[in-house]
């Protein structure tokens, strides 16, 4: 197997994720796209780990999975709060950071 | 003792203010007195340790790094905790260690609105750690971290304690410098990947060790790559300097910043940029520096003229002083652009002189604002009548700033002009001579705007609106204490420039030397056929690499 198979696939998934993050208005969908990006990164980590014959890649992938889980938890909690206050999860409406 | 000197001495100097800041956080807000004492104490302690340490500095080998500490730090990217100083960092560290306590003394009883001494002093101390750290760091990542630490306290200082437009100014300052340093980081990374540490005697190929990078590790990088990498650093440091046309954050930041903020900004922060050029950009990439030198020189002289003309258009005194910084830093950059030891020496001197003089001018402007509640020059006048000592000090600083011989400013300005008559041989002489003439014209304009300012503010009779103002008093005690050292130093350095050159000269020569197995970069810079020389050097090094 070529290393590149995995890397390119990962790059494609990553880019699709980027598109999703930018194009989606629904907060839940944006979060999903972020998951996509994180998984693409995981593929990379594991692929490189196998390539250089080390376990470190997997260890980091595990960490990423953990962090991703935490991120989804907090992210959904924020969306929930947002929904409660605004009756919408449309990110387009969120511009409270406007200076 | 050896342990102190060559081990944790520099670390202590760098982090004592940070410790002070931590202690401050633990003291409740209402204990103002203890807050101030702790802040002043820790900055003075840092200064004392610093002076004690630096008194062991061996000027006879000022070109070498001294008090070096070298410990593993982030092993995965081979970044190490390296600190050390040579003759270039020495004066700048001393300047920082001097200015911060003076600033604390100055604001001891008058914190700018909205007061809050606790946060103010904390930020000041963090700022000090960042500034000193930048000057002692000898590892690019460490350097970068300190370089960035400086940013936040300053941002808050302008944004919280600033004038009316403070939010705009602070955000502009922040974004501008952040943008520059992002590009700079990329350049650092690129150098990390491209340089070969083994050429400089290291075991590892990839390194952030500044000693190795400025000691020939970069000699094998292709010229195009060097030029690109330099461009990134150029932006990063150029914004900080600030060079024309990246200067527009400066007048806003200065105008809005509280007095102490302005002083630190002028005295030390701007020097981070020029120090970066002298310490990082030029010695690490001498070839790219030679390629960029005409551009740097051009922007420098444009800055000189442009800054001066900008000054002539100002109505606000503080803004005028801010603009004059653009012009003065132009002289510093011109000195660096010549790529000769003479010019770089002038630049280092110029940095210190500008720090002292412009810092002092900002102090004066701040105190005048306190008294007159405005710095609108058309409303001021007769300072010499109402507060004669202050008027005299203003006149003195104006003279120093316009480069009067016998005061510190001259030795930064005139040698820079002199050096650009005969830049490094690799550079085009005619171009630099043209720069010299333009820079010389700049000195006239400098005299013009500074004297004009002096006339407007100090001469003449007191204005009616301020004639009986009870606020207008002559120099007060805390002002004396915080100003006297600066004033004395301006005179001392003016009469005795050797004090500085003793330290800087060997270090500057060392920094331009950039040795390698195939001859030093200085030789190539000094040769008429410099580009070929660099090419041959590279080819030779690559061959040995191949073996």
């Amino acid at each position: 197997m070529w290393l590149n198979q995995f890397l390119v696939l990962s790059a494609v998934l990553f880019s699709i994720g980027v598109y999703g993050v930018l194009a989606r208005r629904n907060g839940v969908l944006v979060l999903m796209s972020i998951e996509l990006i994180l998984n693409a990164v995981n593929i990379n980590l594991v692929a490189f780990g196998s390539y250089v014959q080390t376990v470190v890649g997997e260890v980091f992938a595990l960490f990423v999975i953990t962090v991703a889980a935490a991120e989804v938890g907090v992210g959904l909690a924020i969306l929930l709060l947002l929904y409660r206050n605004r009756r919408s999860v449309d990110i387009h409406d969120v511009d409270m950071m406007k200076g | 003792m050896q342990d102190f000197l060559n081990g944790w001495g520099l670390t202590l100097v760098t982090f004592v203010p940070m410790l002070g800041a931590l202690v401050l956080l633990a003291i409740p807000k209402r204990n103002e007195w203890s807050l101030k004492v702790v802040a002043l104490g820790s900055s003075l302690l840092a200064a004392l340790i610093g002076v004690f340490l630096l008194s062991w500095f061996d000027t006879s080998r000022a070109g070498d790094l001294q008090f070096v500490v070298d410990k593993p730090w982030i092993e995965t990217i081979n970044s190490r905790y390296i600190m050390g100083i040579d003759g270039i960092s020495l004066p700048l560290i001393l300047l920082t260690l001097l200015v911060v306590p003076l600033c604390i003394v100055y604001s001891f009883d008058h914190f700018p609105e909205p007061r809050n001494p606790k946060s103010f002093l904390t930020l000041l101390l963090i700022l000090q750690t960042g500034m000193v750290g930048t000057f002692v760091a000898q590892d690019l990542i460490l350097f970068f971290v300190f370089f960035e630490i400086v940013l936040l306290p300053m941002y808050f200082m302008i944004g919280v304690w600033g004038g009316e437009n403070r939010r705009y100014a602070s955000i502009k300052f922040f974004l501008y410098t952040l943008f520059g340093s992002a590009l700079m980081l990329i350049s650092f990374l690129a150098m990390f990947f491209l340089a070969d540490g083994t050429l400089a005697g290291l075991d590892a190929v990839r390194t952030f060790d500044m000693r190795a990078l400025s000691g020939g590790a970069t000699a094998a990088i292709a010229r195009t790559s060097q030029v690109w990498i330099f461009a990134g650093m150029f932006l990063g440091f150029g914004v900080k300097v600030p060079m024309f046309p990246f200067h527009t954050w400066l007048p806003d930041a200065h105008t809005e910043a509280p007095t102490v903020g302005s002083v630190i900004l002028a005295a030390v922060l701007l020097k981070l940029g020029t120090y970066g050029f002298v310490r990082v950009a030029v010695p690490m990439l001498p070839e790219a520096a030679a390629a960029w030198a005409p551009v740097i020189g051009l922007l420098a002289v444009i800055g000189i003229i442009y800054g001066a003309l900008g000054c002539l258009a100002q109505r606000d005194m503080k803004r005028l002083i801010a603009f004059s910084s653009v012009a003065h830093m132009g002289f510093v950059m011109l000195g660096i652009a010549t790529l000769t030891p003479f010019g770089v020496n002038a630049a280092v001197f110029g940095m210190v002189a500008h720090g002292l003089i412009t810092g002092m001018l900002f102090f004066l402007a701040g105190s005048m604002k306190e008294r007159y509640h405005t710095l609108e020059m058309s409303r001021l006048g007769g300072l010499l009548k109402q507060a004669p000592r202050m008027g005299w000090m203003l006149g003195f600083c104006v003279m120093a700033s316009l480069g009067l011989p016998g005061l510190a400013g001259f030795w930064g300005e005139f040698p820079a002009i002199l050096a650009s008559y005969s830049p490094a041989a690799i550079l085009h002489q005619g171009v630099f001579r043209a720069y010299m003439v333009i820079a010389a014209v700049g000195t006239v304009l400098a005299a013009g705007y500074l004297l004009w300012m002096l006339q407007k503010t100090a001469f003449g009779k007191a204005r009616k609106e301020f004639a009986n103002s009870p606020d207008i008093k002559d120099v007060k005690r805390h002002e004396y204490i915080s100003w006297a050292p600066l004033l004395v130093l301006i005179v001392v350095l003016g009469f005795y420039p050797r004090l500085l050159h003793e330290a800087t000269d060997p270090a500057v020569r060392e920094s331009l030397e950039v040795p390698s197995i195939a001859g030093s970069a200085q030789d190539c810079l000094d040769s008429d056929d410099g580009w070929t020389c660099f090419d041959e050097r590279r080819t030779e090094i690559k061959q040995t690499q191949g073996n």
Partner: protein, 720 residues
Amino acid sequence: MGLLGAFATTPAVFAAEAGAEVVKAGGWFLANAWLIPLIPAASFLIILLFGKRMPRGGSEVGITAVAASFVLGLLTLVQWIGAVNAAGDAAVSPAISKWTWWISGGTSFTIGTLVDGLAVALIFVVTLVSLLVHIYSTDYVAGDVRYTHFFAFLSLFTASMLFFVLSENTIQMILGWEMVGVCSFVLIGHWWEEKANSNAALKAFLTNRVGDIGLLIGMAILFFAADSFSVVKINSLAAEGSIAHGLLLAASLCLMAAVMSKSGQFFLHTWLPDAMAGPTPVSALIHAATMVVAGVYMVARLFAVFFEGLAIAGSSVNALAIMGGITTLVGASLAFVQTDIKRVLAYSTISQLGYMVLALGVGAWTAAVFHLFTHAFFKACLFLGSGSVSHAVHSFDMKKDMGGLRKHMPHTFRTFVIASLALAGLAPLAGFWSKDEILAGTGGWGAFGGTGGNGAYTFVLFMAMLTAALTAAYMTRCVYLTFFGTYRGHGHPHESGRRITVPLWILAVFAVGAGWTNLPKGFQIVPKGWREQFGHYVEPRAAEGFYFPHIAHATPSWTLAAFSTLVVLFGLGAAYYYYFVKVRALGGSATELPNGLTSRFRIARLGHRLLARKYYLDHLYTDILAKGTAGPVARGAYWLNQRGIDEVVNQAGRKAVSAGHVLYDKIDQKVVDGVVNATGRASHGAGEEIRRMQTGKVQQYAGVMFVVAALIAVVLILVL
């Protein structure tokens, strides 16, 4: 080795190239001349710090210090004369003491003193005039609010000027040059409460700064050409032709710009008349006797550079001579139309400085330095005299507030007249001898049977002759308006006190006798040992590899002296006739003839009727010469001066300011800054711009971030 070890090196008395004909000048005073400027410098600090608490406000310190310097200077002078005498026919190399000041990039900057005849002569002039001015000032500025400060800066000025004069290298010259400029700035603006005074101070400083560009660049060129800052080294290399002629030419042209501003040469001279806003003693010391001759001194100091650079030898015209020639004429003609007595003297100073520069331009080195020497005394005397007058009448306006003062102020009157005659150049007063040597030095006088000189500068000779006539005329006018006729001012003028008159008399004595130090070679009446003594001790003998060029000396002739005296008498007589006869006939309070030049001029234009007039000579003298010069020509020149050249200067300043405004308002704030805030123009003030950039839309931020990251990656790919 610590940071503080600079002065550890011992002073070394420097020997010039040890040729057979060069001997070293030695002696304690010659080697320790650094004390001479150091004493007034110390006095400056003492007065500044403690002066207010002293019984006489610090003036006593100043006077003591300058007196000490004067004595030291005298002793140095004596030792120098001894050294020259001991050397016999050999050339004497200057006594040099120097220390390394600092080192940068392998170049060492030294500081030290160079004592030779030129320096000694200048030290004598500076310390003597300064001492007299100090004494004079204790009366003149008595009761002034900034009495102490005034003396402090007089001391500083004296120190700076002496430092400049004793410069061992060009860096020191620049230092001294700038320092005297600052002192001049401070002292012109002494009464800075008035806007006009601070304006004059600013103008003086800025005009000088313009010239300083030339100084900085010229010195830079010389430094790199000679690889040294040393005056001796630069001069010897230039004299032996080791430096490319092009470089020398460029350097001397650049330095000429500096001379132009500092020594008030055409067309950067306009600051000098304005500088009269300062107190009169300052005008006497700084703007007549010493500081303004700094430019002349610099040319004399680096004469080899100019001599070779401008190819003075064997030529009949060069930039320096022309500059001096034009200046001397312009100054003299402008002096005619002034009503302010100090301005008359200021223009006269410009004219005389032009004379000196002209002399240097034709290679008459000794004559120029000699004229500098004599001029210092009689011009200082004139200025102090005018100060004494204004002290009595509280005004400087000759037409409105003076007249008839000879009865009220006999001492002032006598000294003023002596000095005026000296300035006019009547034998045997000082001005005659120095002026005559300059005329001889032009070498352009073949018709009068002289020989020698560096070239045939006939045109320059013509200008100098014309100036001599004009000088005699305007001084006559000045004397008449001030001291003759009837008193037109207010109150009862009375003679000034002794602290004023004694310095006047001392200077008057020098105005008479200073010229006898250099009686011409052909002046057979006196014994040989009295002739050309000044030149003998001041001018370095040219020797191989020496720091002085081989200049050719002219032999003065009796015919030339007689002719120039005639010219002076002619000018004097014409003015005398006009004022003392014609104007006086109208009554004591008349100052000019009432029937104006316009009617006369119409007659003159008609031409043929002019010949028929009874007062043909009268017309010629009064209308065409005196009044014509004082009228349309001078007025025109003055107009040109004020509106033309001065306007250019002022306009340049104003234009710079407006350029600054345009640049700042239009470009800096709009373009450069605008690029930064490119997301939109501010509609609600500048803060709004950044606000708009911050849309608060997270996704936009994210998008920008991704795109930028991709771009950065592209850059990295390209680089790596």
